[in-house]
Symmetry: none
Subunit: 161 residues, 2 copies
DNA sequence: CAGCCATTCATACTAAAGTATGAAACTGCC
DNA sequence: GGCAGTTTCATACTTTAGTATGAATGGCTG
């Protein structure tokens, strides 16, 4: 039981790294395939190189985007500052008054985008139960009675991009 | 004078694209250099490919980060103007596409304000049942599955003030 | 006037949201 | 190590939202 739980935790922690690893592996296969289908037919090496360059540039952008919107355990304060810099539309003062936890804020962001609890659970790799807990605590802190009111208030106080 | 200003604006707008182009050019030179210094010495092609992959992944991440840092002061000002211009009015065309009945639109307006079905019923002097009917028909016409998605779509398409 | 549409409401049902409570594990801090 | 706060999850429950179906009314129109 203990070990099962340990493995579960391990999986959760390194899920993203695993995903990137898998993606990388798939790319390598893709490259090998390209190598056989382009080089053998005696196409220019430059084209092959170019393809790789574009492919990996896209990969890099994708990775950066994943990290940008992904979990940031400690760097939430930094993230908030970044948002404050890039999206002047957010009322940082109002946001801090509410004392939302990073996770609660993430849930709020997806809520505002119109996602259901189930969808939020999938996006954040959480159980439905956990999302409900975050949502409920969120409503208390925001002093609202439902998600629609939370969305309205978030928009009105400019708490979200 | 006019033309100078125009060129200045042009430069400002496409400065980043220029920078990326320049970076890209430098990279291509770098690659050619690598090609001569590795391939000629008969190193494995795979190592060369690997280097390119890593290099362009990093390039991709860098590009993404540059964009993540966001549009600069001028762009932001422009963005604000756009918002100021476009926010107050309603996209009549999009609204008419949906063919909502007047009553359905009233319900939608209150929905966006965060009201529950019960509150809407009170506001419009209707039974809860009727509000539900309007809401349900509304969702079909808007092609959404829930009120939160309807709210998000209404905001996005600027169907409400 | 018959037909269409909008509006209203009811009933009955399913699905989702929201609340309450308890619990386990981790983090950062003194 | 103990403590406060965060995160995660479960279970059980109530409330609200949403769907389906049917039906009555009134306005408008060809």
């Amino acid at each position: 039981m203990e070990q099962m739980h340990f493995l579960k935790d391990l999986f959760r922690k390194y899920r993203y790294i695993g995903l990137y690893g898998l993606s990388f592996a798939i790319l390598v296969f893709l490259l090998k395939w390209l190598q056989w289908n382009f080089l053998i037919v005696d196409y220019s090496l430059d084209i092959y190189i170019g393809l790789i360059a574009v492919l990996f540039t896209v990969l890099g952008i994708w990775i950066a985007m994943q990290f940008a919107k992904g979990p940031k355990p400690v760097a939430v304060a930094q993230q908030k500052e970044d948002i404050a810099e890039t999206k002047p539309d957010i009322d940082q003062a109002e946001l801090e008054k509410l004392k939302l936890t990073p996770r609660e804020y993430e849930v709020l962001l997806l809520m505002v985008k119109g996602h259901s609890n189930a969808e939020i659970a999938e996006s954040l790799f959480l159980s439905l139960s956990t999302v409900k807990t975050h949502a409920s605590n969120l409503f208390v802190k925001m002093d609202v009675a439902s998600r629609t009111k939370a969305i309205e208030k978030a928009k009105r106080l400019r708490l979200t991009p």
